[in-house]
């Protein structure tokens, strides 16, 4: 397993997790939050698409606009453009306007009529949480953002810039600059891409890396999900021989007291062959990803046994992400010393 570059979990202030749909973006966001919390950091994990995808991963029905504790040292938040607009206006001393809009039921309309504005508010809220100071120290050590999928992530992250072009001066311009300052800062921010070891996701991930790089965003590790473990590697030749003639396998079964006829053995060998084929395809694609990622660490996570998505899976993956972090080696060294 490849190691994560600089201490993504230990040093970053903001992790933006994106990926092609279905590549496990939300699960990785949750696992990264959990892994950082395991290392003693206070984490806020944020979702912005109103999908309530994070809630189930922490064993909850839903998350709200109130930051809620979802695990030890982990808070969860579902950002909503309407709530953000109200809060935003309040912050700029425009609370009466916010009340007027609410009264006229116009907030939903305004954020829907100019969804670019919705993105500005969502990104603005994430920035606010990541830079919030309480009692003289950061309110959170790390904010993990379950961002929109790769196809939309650049326009999403750049929304404040886009709108700021309309606003030449004033607080919106000022805030847009500060948001960009955080997002572009490689010392504080990392964009983490999730991927599957399959043809189209790998192609799209490489395209997205180029886009994100061109946009000047600091890239973090690429996380490959659902990697099939190679348990039979090195025995491929023996498997091929047994597929031609399964007699030695039948004899081994007999000796061990297992009643496996020719048909059953053929099923077992067929399944092994299918699996080995998938392993070979995945290794080739992960190789392409590593070559194309040009120096970015590529972290592999296994296909979980039952495909379930819950707290159990998140804990398991968090442990693996932690193990893949170079900091954990230092930690172990310290503990051993």
């Amino acid at each position: 397993m490849a190691r994560m570059s600089i201490d993504t979990l230990a040093d970053a202030r903001l992790l933006v997790v994106t990926g092609k749909g279905g590549t496990g973006k939300t699960t990785v966001a949750a696992a990264l939050a959990m892994a950082a919390a395991d290392r003693g950091r206070r984490v806020l994990v944020v979702e912005v698409e109103g999908r309530q995808g994070l809630a189930g991963l922490f064993g909850r029905r839903s998350l709200s606009y109130q930051e809620t504790r979802v695990a030890s040292r982990v808070h969860g938040l579902a950002v909503d453009p309407e709530e953000s607009l109200r809060e935003y206006l309040g912050r700029f001393g425009a609370a009466p306007l916010a009340r007027l809009l609410t009264w006229a039921r116009l907030t939903r309309f305004i954020t829907a009529a100019a969804p670019g504005l919705g993105d500005v508010l969502l990104v603005g809220k994430v920035w606010e949480a990541a830079t919030r100071v309480r009692d003289g120290r950061p309110a959170y050590d790390l904010v993990v953002l379950d961002a929109p999928p790769t196809g939309r992530v650049v326009p999403f992250l750049r929304a404040p810039e886009t709108v700021a072009e309309l606003a030449r001066v004033g607080p919106i311009r000022h805030q847009a600059d500060r948001v960009k300052g955080l997002l572009d800062d490689p010392a504080r921010t990392r964009v983490v891409l999730t991927c599957l070891p399959e043809e189209l996701p790998v192609t799209e991930t490489l395209e997205s890396l180029a886009l994100l790089r061109a946009a000047g965003l600091p890239l973090g590790p690429v996380v490959v999900n659902q990697v099939v473990a190679d348990r039979l590697g090195g025995r491929a030749r023996r498997l091929a021989a047994l597929t031609r003639d399964a007699a030695p396998l039948a004899a081994a079964a007999e000796r061990a007291g297992a009643k496996l006829d020719g048909a059953a053995l053929a099923v077992l060998l067929g399944e092994a062959r299918d699996r080995q084929r998938r392993v070979a395809t995945q290794r080739r694609l992960i190789g392409e990803l590593q070559a194309g990622a040009a120096g970015l660490p590529v972290v592999e996570l296994p296909l979980l046994s039952d495909g379930a998505a819950g707290p159990e899976a998140v804990r398991l993956l968090a442990g693996m992400l932690r193990a893949a972090e170079p900091g954990s080696a230092r930690e172990r060294a310290r503990a051993g010393a």
């Binding site: 279905g22 425009a94 306007l97 007027l100 189209l200 498997l239 081994a252 061990a256 046994s305």
Partner: protein, 391 residues
């Protein structure tokens, strides 16, 4: 392969041996594929369209997914905003059927809509030149769904095709697609907003005067916040649309009716992953609530385990302590048991979803060795999608 239930609305004279999707391919006018990202929606849409074309129907598959997946699935490098014939290897060109494909270029479609429905070229130019329009028409979330709807309607009205297959963006946006007519109606009905942004002379008398005051306050506030006349530009944008609202509303309603028509079929696509099935259930319920003609759930990438008799306790240990072949057999058995457990968990989840959404037919497609990115691949996928139902 299992198929359950029957679609509402579609012609049923085709006999019990045909799969639900085969009926769709023969009789539907519009098929809308929806589901969360990465579940094989595009391939499923393309396979349905290909089958229809091979059944002799003039078919067009339309994707509004910006990731160009359909292009890859069809072996095309580029799709444009007008349907282009698919010329993949092995595609039959002799029959009466045909297959076209297109990917929505949002900005282009939006411009076309403006040009087509504006009163005159002067109004069109005024809108196209508006700074707010230029900024938002390509970046606005939701525009995609609305423009897809416009394109779908346009293609439907052209009568060039017997069947239109639409591949929607991931679920959340696909819901917007469904909501587009309603959202638009709500937007156009929001007279209050039009008053807020309208020039002062259009504000009436009496009780509206209070609103006028609020308007002025809001305009001032936005100017203070943005240092520009953002609101004025937005106002100009909406004012420039004057006279086009009714046309938009009218079309949105007609598209909505079209989606509800019995000759339309919604296909919810998922994988057996918990998250994908959760989204599928959400979507299926939502379609049922809106009384949309929902019928099939396609579950791609289903794991299947072969039949191997259970081995008595102690066998694993004896095999593990045996020679190389015995240890290999132990690993094979262990792998098989893991696969069996995975397959069972998947079937349990699919069963739960089907139980929660009555009248939903399910088609399961096993995990295939290769991904679908060619016409041949689409045909292999089709073989699973359209397998005859055992009588």
């Amino acid at each position: 392969m299992s198929t359950r239930g029957r679609p509402r609305g579609l012609a049923r004279e085709t006999g019990a041996s045909l799969s639900w999707l085969e009926e769709v391919v023969r009789t539907a006018r519009i098929v809308i594929c929806c589901g969360s990202g990465g579940v094989g929606k595009t391939s499923t849409a393309a396979a349905v369209a290909l089958r229809a074309a091979e059944r002799g129907r003039r078919t067009c598959v339309l994707t509004i997914d910006p990731a160009r997946r359909l292009a890859q699935a069809l072996g095309l490098d580029l799709l444009s905003n007008t349907p282009k014939p698919v010329t993949g290897k092995g595609l039959r060109a002799d029959g009466p059927g045909s297959l076209d494909a297109m990917m929505l270029d949002m900005r282009r479609t939006f411009d076309e809509v403006i040009e087509r429905y504006a009163r005159d070229s002067e109004q069109a130019e005024r809108i196209l030149a508006n700074r707010f329009y230029q900024r938002v028409s390509s970046t606005l979330a939701g525009t995609q769904e609305y423009m897809a709807m416009e394109k779908l309607y346009e293609l439907h009205e052209s009568h060039r095709y017997d069947l239109l297959v639409v591949d929607t963006p991931p679920t959340r946006s696909a819901l917007d697609f469904l909501d587009a007519p309603d959202n638009l109606n709500e937007l156009l009905d929001a007279r209050a907003f039009r008053l807020l942004i309208a020039p002062a002379q259009r504000i009436g008398r009496g009780y509206l005067r209070g609103l006028n005051l609020a308007t002025t306050a809001m305009t001032r506030m936005v100017r203070r916040l943005t240092g520009s006349d953002l609101l004025a530009e937005v106002g100009e944008f909406f004012a420039a649309f004057e006279g086009m609202y009714d046309g938009f509303r009218d079309r949105a309603q007609r598209v909505y009716d079209l989606m509800k028509h019995p000759s339309t079929a919604f296909v919810v696509v998922a994988t057996p992953d918990e998250a994908a099935l959760r989204e599928a259930a959400f979507f299926a319920r939502r379609l049922a609530e809106d009384r949309m003609p929902l019928g099939a759930l396609v579950v791609n990438r289903v794991h299947r385990a072969g039949l191997v008799p259970a081995v008595p306790a102690g066998v694993h240990e004896r095999l593990g302590a045996g020679d190389a072949d015995a240890r290999l057999l132990a690993d094979l058995l262990e792998q098989h048991e893991a696969l069996e457990a995975l397959a069972e968990a998947e079937q349990r989840r699919i069963g739960e979803l089907l139980a929660s959404v009555p009248s939903l037919a399910a088609v399961q497609v096993p995990l295939m060795a290769e991904e679908v990115h060619s016409v041949a691949g689409l045909r292999r996928l089709g073989a699973h999608l359209f397998a005859a139902v055992p009588a």
